[in-house]
Amino acid sequence: MKPKDLPARELRPVVNESGIEIKPLYSAADVAASGGESMIGLPGEYPFTRGIHSLMYRKQPWTMRQYTGFGNPADTNKRFHYLIANGQTGLNVAFDLPTQCGMDSDDPQAEGEVGRVGMAVDTLRDFEIAFEGVDLERITVSLTVNGAAAILIAMYLAMAEKRGYDLARLRGTAQNDILKEFIGRGTWVYPVEPSIRLVGDTIEYCATHAPKYSPVSVCGYHIRESGADPAQEMAYAFCIAKAYADEVIRRGLPVDEFAGRLSFNFNCFGSLLEQVAKFRAGRSLWAKIMKEHYGAAKPGSMWLRMIAGGGGGGLTFEQPELNIVRGAYYALICALAGTQTMALCCYDEAYTIPSEYAQRISLRTMQLLIEEMGLTDTVDPLGGSYYVETLTNQMRGRMEAIMAEVDAQGGIVKLVGEGAIQAKVSAQAYRRQRDIEAGSLRKVGVNCYRTEDKTPEMEFHPYREEDARAQVRSLDRVRAERDAGRVQSALARVRTDARSGTNLMPAIMDAIKAYASVGEITGVLVGVFGRYREPVRF
């Protein structure tokens, strides 16, 4: 039989990663059968499936925010200026692991890790150096930090205030999503409950003192990297966002006073239109949750504002130059999906901290879509496609089912605390790896189209032990110069407020302004809260 005569029922079935069977052809009947057009609407209008703003990129293209940071604050400052000079419109700061885990650069556990995978930060002095010469009103800054987020947010606000910025107008974002950190990424410090309290403290504090600042970016991203499918990625992120919202509402803050500053971070690797449908579905589901479950009235509270991109889990060690091409498709997905901010993993990232050259390629990839490919000409260009609208309805249905399952099992906080979500997604990651090795899940360059030809030489990011020693010397200098009495009393207030349940942010701000270090403040909080103990469950 010739292929054109093959009846549809004899085609190899296609099921997307989220578990939805894909037909060879879609029509209006499929849109109707999947729930119709009631959740489509117009961009800028509830339920925002087509975009949170009416004009989207016609008014302003997405913000370009490559993840950057290494070595000392002065090294990172140089790379920031390089990226800004090349047209980057935001910063996304990478911190080294000691900073992310709340340790000072002279902590014995920090040895060998200072400045290695991100910028080393100990005190306010480091932020003063890192952001020197950066116009914080024109360039918004995102801090990728979680376990130590309350401290680093305080440091950012204190630095901006010192430079004369009005906190009432200061924009910016902190990742500050600790629940996903327990699922994947792993820079936790305190046990689950006090960790959620700290997230609540930052949201509550910013709602009053820095109302334009986004204190949390809830990340489906790393849950996806840990093994979740695209529907789970978004569903688990919404469960987590609800846990933070509940924590703040419990304190008496009305939803419309903080929900507009919640933001999100999602991944983009995988099948192209499944991802686009995921973002469109997620936008309408979050709007529905905010409106119907929380009774939000302001449209801004219902907006799924997001950074999308990365795609690390889809990139390969083999034939790394193909990652440049993958990155271009990932950027296309994010543009078609209507993200507010975009960042791309670099082609060399499976090997090393990205080189300046690799960073520039990622930046240019996004700029190509804006300048040459017409991706900013019209809003939601895939809206109305039978397939995309059907899949959007189906993906939303999958997400709602996953969220209901989490609730039925006792809620996301309980499931994360027990390690149940971790076990579930890691079992999926294992199956995925098995499928790749068996060849049933195709990865170009990995299980098909392999080559013995040499790949281009990688430029490895240098790690200089001397930089770590310089960072420790700089910390010693700050400790010698600061007012020790003021530091001690500020740390004592942190301890008192941690015990009493008072919002910790004012006390942490005081300690930061007195040049108390990340490790000193964390040490006081660990003394009160204890440390997280990782549940090991398979």
Binding site: L97, P98, Q100, C101, M103, Q109, A110, E111, G112, E113, R116, V117, E181, G184, R185, G186, T187, E225, S226, G227, T316, F317, E318, A350, Y351, T352, S426, A427, A429, Y430, Q433, R434, E437, V446, F460, Y463, E534, V536, F538
Partner: protein, 132 residues
């Protein structure tokens, strides 16, 4: 190894690196292969790894390192494992390990090196044939 006893692997995440997706995938592959696996969880110091390996009477000590600090960690761990009398066990390491560091890792006693893109069955077969 003694007949009838399953190969016992202690798989550790040393240092502050939180990337545990790969480590957990390898744990599952080793369990499916019939090995007994003790996974330490994140942020293990070299001292803790040596202690756990000794207490568990491990045949294989496996590290997963994704964040670039494999050399300083292995330099610290080597004398600790030797002092604990674990010098005759199989030491292996996987993760983001640039080729230029492989000789140094071998020199530190890590005979099995499994950089990113290694296949699970290769790790399993290596342990099956090389475990003491």
């Amino acid at each position: 190894m003694n007949a009838g006893r399953r190969i016992k692997v202690v798989l550790a995440k040393p240092g502050l690196d939180g990337h545990d997706q790969g480590a957990k995938v390898v744990v599952r592959a080793l369990m499916d292969a019939g090995f007994e696996v003790i996974y330490t969880g994140l942020r293990q110091t070299p001292e803790a790894i040596a202690r756990i390996a000794l207490e568990e009477d491990a045949d294989v000590i496996a590290l997963s390192s994704m964040a670039g600090s494999h050399l300083p960690i292995c330099r610290k761990l080597k004398p600790l494992l030797e002092e604990a009398g674990l010098g005759d066990k199989l030491w292996i390491i996987g993760g983001n390990l640039p080729a230029r560091d492989h000789d140094a890792l071998r020199g530190l006693g890590f005979k099995g090196i499994f950089p990113s893109s290694s296949r699970l069955e290769d790790i399993v077969n290596y342990i099956r044939t090389q475990a003491p």
